[in-house]
Structures are given as C-alpha cells and as structure tokens.
C-alpha cells in the first residue's frame, strides 16, 4: 500500500552508495513496503502540537575548551588505510574519463 517502488529503492541505493543487484532491489521493495506499512502509523499521533524529541535527555551548551589535545600520528591515521602514499589516503579517480 505504500509508495515503495523498485525505482525508488534503486534511487535510495544510489543515495546510500550501495550497488544493489536486481534481486536485491526486488526483495527490498517487498520488504520495505511491508515495513513502511507498519511504521507509517507514527503519523497518526504526531500532531502539530507535539514537539519533536531529538535527544532523550535534555541538555545544552556542552562545550570543549579550545585547547589542543593529543591526537593521532600520521602512522595511526593511516594504519587501517586500504591504500595510502605514505602520508595521504589514496582513492581511485573521482571522476571518470573526460567525455
């Protein structure tokens, strides 16, 4: 009954950077449809007069003094890198060949 379509799922896959196969899209479309039907009921009670709660324990103005603390060495920064040039992380081309 919801608006979940294979195209929407594919679009969500692009937004979330997950390369979904066609079977995954089909399966997820059905599953999400059922889930969304069940969870959409939140809007029944979420009337305009009810404020939203983003943090369960209300607090404010939690700040850190502007003082440099021990941070990471370059070796620590890179220790889990799939690829690096010794001081920077290396990734494959960001854009494809020029068209």
């Amino acid at each position: 009954m919801s608006e979940i379509t294979p195209d929407l799922v594919r679009h969500l896959g692009v937004l979330a950077r997950i390369q979904l196969s066609d079977e995954e899209v089909t399966r997820l479309t059905g599953e999400l449809d059922a889930i969304v039907d069940n969870i959409a009921k939140v809007s029944q009670v979420a009337t305009p007069d009810v404020p939203a709660t983003s943090h369960p324990i209300p607090m404010e103005n939690v700040f850190r003094p502007d003082e440099v603390a021990v941070t990471l060495t370059t070796a620590q920064a890179l220790q889990n890198a799939p690829d690096a040039d010794g001081s920077r992380f290396r990734v494959t081309a960001i854009l494809g060949e020029e068209q």
Binding site: R17, I39, K41, V42, S54, P56, A81, P82
Partner: protein, 510 residues
C-alpha cells in the same frame, strides 16, 4: 578448581583475588580454558586476547606490591565487538571492518583497563548491532548455552552467551533497543541499559546515536552494579554524557539484597502490554515474580502508557535513519574493506564495497533510513517518529508520577530456534517490543531472571524501568527480587543451565 573459579560471581572472584586465594592469572587461565572447551559450540567470541594472561600477571604483580587496586582488579571481562580496542580487532560483527584495529580505546574499555579488569576477548553480535538474535553476525551465529539450537538473543548475544556459558564473569554490551536486556532474558543472565548519557558512548561504534547505551552484562545484579561503577560517569569525549555525580550501583545492589526495599514499593504494570501478547510461560513467570514481590509488601499498580504501541514503529524509523548516516563512514577510503573496481570511479568503489561488505539486514535498514530522511518524507517519517518519542516520554512521566518502577516481561518469547525468524524482519522486530520504549525515552532498564517457562524450560527475564537518572533504584529492586528467588531456588537460575561439554569437533574460537 578451574570449574569452581568460572562459576564464581565477579563479586566472589574479586573477594578471592583480594584475599590472594586465587591469582588473576589462575582466574584468567580458567576462563581461557573454558573458552577453549566450549566456545567452539557456543561461538560467543570473535577474538580471544593473546595478552590476557600477561595483563593478569601484571595485576598479580601490582597486588603483590600492595598497590591500591579497584574492587574488580584481576577479574576477566568480555567486550562486545561494538567497542573499539587498541589491542584487538573491532569489527562490530561486520565483514566491512574485518581486521580493523582502533588507534584508541573506547572510554568504557579504558576505564575497565584502568580498574584492573582483564580483557579476555571480543564478543559476537549482530552486524552493527542490528538484530535480536546474533544471527546477523557476518562471522556466524552465537548459540544459546541453554540450547545450542537456539539464539542467545541480540544484538549482544555473544556477551550474554559468554557470561551464561561461564566463559567470562562479566561482559560489556550495548543496548539500542534491547540488545543488552533481551539477550539477558533468553540466557538467564542480568543486563542493564543505563540512563542515556550515564555511560560514555565514546568508542562505541554508533548504531543509532540517540538510542545507544553501553551497559553491563553479568550473572548477578551485584556484578552488574560493580561493573557499572567502573564504566559509568561523565566523559568529556561524549557530549551527551551526563555530568552529574552518580551513587554507587554496587552499593545500591547490596542494599536491595539485604534490606526491605520491596515494602511499599509501587510497581507499575502497563495495561497496554496485556499477558496475551506474551508466550504463556513468559507471562506466567512475570506474574509469579510480581506475586512474590507483592508478598513482600510491594504494591502492583496498573498504569497506562497509551503510546507504547507506537514505539516499535518510531524505533524502526529513528534507528535506520541515524544508522544510515552513522554507517556512511564505511566507504573504503580511510579504513575497512575495499573492493576494487577496475576502471571504476571512487563512487563505484564505494558502492560495490558497501554492497559486498554489508549483510542483508544492514542494507535493509540503511535503505529504510535513507528513505525516512529523504526530502519529502522527513516530516511524515523521521519527524513524526521524533514526536512519538515525546509522547512516550510523557507516558513515562505520567506513570512515574504514581509508581516507583515499571515492570514488564523483558521480551515476548523465550529463545527461538536459529533460523526461525531470519527471513521475517517484521516478526524479528517485535522481539524488542518491551525494551524499545526505554531507549526512546532515555530511561534506564534492567532485566533479571524470573524463572523458566513451563512449556519449554527456557529462561525468562523480568524488566524493571525507572525514571532517567534513577538507575540505582533498578539495582535495589533487581537485587531484592534476585535475593528472593535465589532463596527460593537455592541458587541462581543460571546454575540450572545444562552442562556444556567440551567439543573438539569445532575447535576453539577464532
């Protein structure tokens, strides 16, 4: 002797360590032996520390030198793999983080080390803590020590199974919607979700930041209090950490166990959670526990929480939404798995890596969360869910105006069979029906064993909930009930778990 050591509670072991009846090395070896013997079957651990004995020897040396040591110094500790550690890999149960070693320790791990606890290893979990059965671990399921064909709950099934199988006296867990309390329920152990902000989240690989809390997983309420005292309190690295001073939770547990806490205690029972919603043996065990407490002077009061019925729906919007953002960092650039795509762009590499590195439940929730936050859907879904949160907080506030604690069964059913619900996400999601409201509202909860379900002989837990910051109340009440039941049973419920036998068929934990 080995068998004696592993069956001690952490409090008892700590006493023997302090008296130097037992050394930390002996205690650590006993638990490592136990892991070697049974973890091939249970599979509670993803990684066992090769430094544990050295760390224990250091504690023994410091004790011999009469150094001032904390009450739990020398006691072994299992750590849920959601918590990052500098000396062991931290995978959060996912392939995408296979072999990842953090350059820093989670605050709770650092505090445990500082208190002299001995990290034994990292425990299995549903991938990124998404699940209620630990079947969604990328490294294979954990089995329930009560029945190896059944799940140990989740997402912290590894931590619960480790303490239930006597592989560790103490474990750390994390609870986003019940991941500490529901596994405690199905394994006959104790689990506490502290008040949101009561224990630092720094170094806990985030699932849903506004719901996650780290907490203790143990076999007794006192042990939970002792561990909570070690890991709790303000941490400037977590902006949502509550700066207030906390009372000793171990002290609260001791007080509950010896005093007459139950006299005049008002226990609220939520009428919107009728017995009919629970497995017969679960409902029966719950009613029996209440009756025993009533017999000790507690008042059972029916309370109303009209918005609890929206809790699961709100949770399955807020959790995936926050998770979709928290899990975006797993992109193959700075750490974790990378799947190369010859001729592909970095975007292709990210997408293919994330497809290969995430399991189906994680993908399901990321896609759902991406949808809930998308332009045009935000107000109807994420925004509405945040309003439901307000309504549930109001339900709690109203209930706590007339009761001291709320009691519910910790979960609707006893441990189900491995594979039984894996293809039915919706019914899996309902496992957390009674635990979720506490996460949405930020209030603390404890699950304490209440007995066995008559129909299947499997453990059942009772959950108590208290107002935010009133965690001590849970320790008092939980310990009082535990003391009553131990008196009646002649021991802990976990002592009735079937013997596990050393299995050489599957070998030791990896």
């Amino acid at each position: 002797m080995t068998d004696d050591i592993i069956r001690l509670s952490a409090a008892q072991l700590a006493e023997k360590l302090a008296a130097r009846d037992v050394s930390s090395v002996e205690a650590t070896r006993a638990h490592l032996d136990r892991i070697g013997a049974v973890d091939g079957d249970v599979h509670a651990f993803l990684h066992v520390s090769d430094r544990a004995v050295d760390v224990a020897a250091d504690i023994d040396r410091r004790r011999a030198a009469r150094e001032e040591l904390g009450p739990l110094a020398g006691v072994p500790l299992a750590i849920k793999d959601v918590l990052v550690t500098t000396d062991m890999p931290s995978t959060s149960g996912s392939k995408i983080l296979e072999g990842y070693v953090s350059p820093f320790d989670a605050t709770v791990v650092a505090r445990s080390r500082a208190a002299g606890l001995v990290p034994l290893g990292k425990t299995n979990m549903d991938e990124f803590a998404m699940g209620s059965s630990t079947e969604h671990s990328a490294y294979g399921p954990t089995r329930n020590p009560w029945d190896l064909d059944r799940v140990p709950g989740g997402s912290g099934g590894g931590s619960a199974a480790a303490v239930a199988a006597f592989e560790a006296p103490l474990a750390l867990g994390s609870d986003t919607g019940g991941s500490i309390r529901q596994p405690a329920h199905v394994t006959g152990t104790v689990g506490v979700k502290p008040t949101y902000g009561g224990v630092s989240r720094y170094g806990s690989i985030a699932l849903a930041s506004s719901l996650d809390q780290v907490g203790p997983v143990t076999r007794t309420v006192l042990d939970a209090g002792l561990l909570h005292d070690v890991i709790g309190g303000h941490d400037p690295n977590d902006a949502t950490s509550i700066p207030d001073a906390w009372p000793s939770f171990a002290e609260a547990a001791r007080e509950g166990a010896r005093g007459d806490v139950l006299k005049g205690l008002r226990i609220g029972v939520v009428k919107e959670l009728p017995d009919s919603g629970f497995q017969t043996g679960v409902a029966a065990s719950f009613r029996e526990a209440l009756a025993r407490m009533e017999a000790q002077g507690a008042q059972i009061v029916e309370t109303s929480a009209p918005h609890f019925e929206y809790a699961v729906a709100a949770y399955y919007l807020i959790l995936p939404a926050e998770a979709s953002s928290n899990l975006a960092k797993f992109d193959s650039v700075r750490f974790g798995m990378r799947v190369d795509v010859p001729g592909g762009t970095v975007e292709d590499v990210m997408s293919v890596t994330r497809d290969a590195g995430f399991g189906p439940e994680v993908k399901r929730r990321i896609i759902l969360g991406t949808y809930a936050l998308s332009a045009g859907y935000y107000d109807a879904y994420y925004g509405s869910a945040q309003k439901v949160r307000t309504l549930i907080q109001r339900d709690f506030a109203e209930a706590f105006a007339s009761v001291d604690v709320i009691a519910t069964p910790s979960a609707p059913t006893t441990a189900f069979r491995i594979g039984e619900k894996i293809d039915d996400p919706l019914s899996m999601y309902l496992n957390d029906l009674t635990t979720i409201p506490a996460n949405l509202a930020g209030v603390p909860g404890i699950s304490v064993p209440s007995g066995l379900a008559a129909e299947d002989g499997l453990p059942v837990g009772i959950q108590f909930l208290a107002p935010a910051r009133e965690d001590a109340r849970l320790y008092r009440v939980g310990a009082a009930l535990e003391a009553l039941l131990v008196d009646e049973w002649g021991g802990l419920l976990i002592d009735r778990a079937p013997e596990l036998h050393a299995s050489d068929a599957k070998g030791a934990a990896r």
